[in-house]
Symmetry: C2
Subunit: 249 residues, 2 copies
Amino acid sequence: MASQRGEGELTTTPLEPADRERARAIPEAAVARLAVYLRVLSGMVDQGVTTISSEELSQAAGVNSAKLRKDLSYIGSYGTRGVGYDVEVLVSHIERILGLTRKHSVAVVGIGNLGHALANYGGFPGRGFPVTALFDVDEDLVGVPVGGIPVNHIEDITTVCAEREVSIGVIATPPPAAQAVCDRLVSAGVQCILNFAPVVLQVPDNVEVRKVDLAVEMQILSFHVARRADEAANDLVNGIGVDGMVIRP
Amino acid sequence: MASQRGEGELTTTPLEPADRERARAIPEAAVARLAVYLRVLSGMVDQGVTTISSEELSQAAGVNSAKLRKDLSYIGSYGTRGVGYDVEVLVSHIERILGLTRKHSVAVVGIGNLGHALANYGGFPGRGFPVTALFDVDEDLVGVPVGGIPVNHIEDITTVCAEREVSIGVIATPPPAAQAVCDRLVSAGVQCILNFAPVVLQVPDNVEVRKVDLAVEMQILSFHVARRADEAANDLVNGIGVDGMVIRP
DNA sequence: ATCTGTGAAGTGCTTCACAGCT
DNA sequence: AGCTGTGAAGCACTTCACAGAT
């Protein structure tokens, strides 16, 4: 089960050989942060900031400055020692590394509450991710435009996705439907999936899945509430007050 | 700036001293997976499965079995060598560690597309996370019930959250409003925040923030599209076909 | 005979700290 | 004098592989 998509539509600026090795080597964690830096930097551009130091940028992005510099070093050396980084230069290099010079068509499957919300973002968060197809099983929804795009029936995923060159599929269906939907997306040649359904998807190696799992997020927070409550109880026993002051040393 | 909440309402089953040290020591990454195991196990219970091996459970959860066993070992030794784990026992231990024996009131701030979707989940993903308060700046929305709960004005966050003992705040506002909303939640004593706004929130150390950032997720996927496209181009140059076979060895 | 629980080895990410450029 | 870029050290998570329980 592999991609059926040809290799003919490479519209991205081709990477230099040096960049190529780098792209392979960037830690996943760093990629996520690059996206954050990019957003912060875009804000800077709007404010007319032209130059920024690693210290300032790292503060704004909520990381420490060594990490920021290391992250930026993965994509090359575009700073000036003693000065800092040119904001626009940085923006364009990060955009290139993240593949944002290309448009990525998005299909949303499952037009319930969440699907509606996603479709109505219109051009998905941050531009460059146009939603070009919507799917649902509900016959009553088929043909109805949501966020300007008419809903197609789930049966047609394969043809419609191929036609519209969808490169990212978003699964917003109820859990039981998710795997089947995923399989269809994959057989339509979609190699990147963003999954909102609380299900562990099985996919071939050449497909990248990212998961957004609200239940997991809530439960992680719950864990921290519990840990904190417990530490507090523990500290009280040991004579430490709620605000961290020792009451009974 | 610290919690203003008293320490009197600890309704959680208190952890044994041994568990206490463990809770402190569980890696964050393991906590996230425990939540996944819990969901898979709940499904097992519904199917009437009573016993499961690390191999089976790890498959269903999409991790390898050594990792699963190590994760479970963080919460104690509840398996039987030569046999496997008792599903119900495991469920109840994971629930206890994740603090799911307590209810966690949730407030959603920002009742736009996403806020609506979230409010309409009713009892948030997976039970145990009742949404008890909604907030927005829009006067026209105030008083209107969404998912059964009337919307309050954002001005009233502090009082309403304190009143309803909200322990988790969900921020679904536009980016510019997020930090101010966050500050209000914090001063209402909320120590856990789930942030959907594409903004890096500044919070005191005693507050836990989890971020769900669609733009970042999309951009990570975009990065992988780019990397793959580039590898393919690269491989073609080196005489390797699209399906991985060497054409020109 | 089988499957868990876990030290120990391995891997990858983060932080340090400073050489080197402007 | 200031700030980047980066080897090297440190830390955390993952995987291995096997002793030990049933």
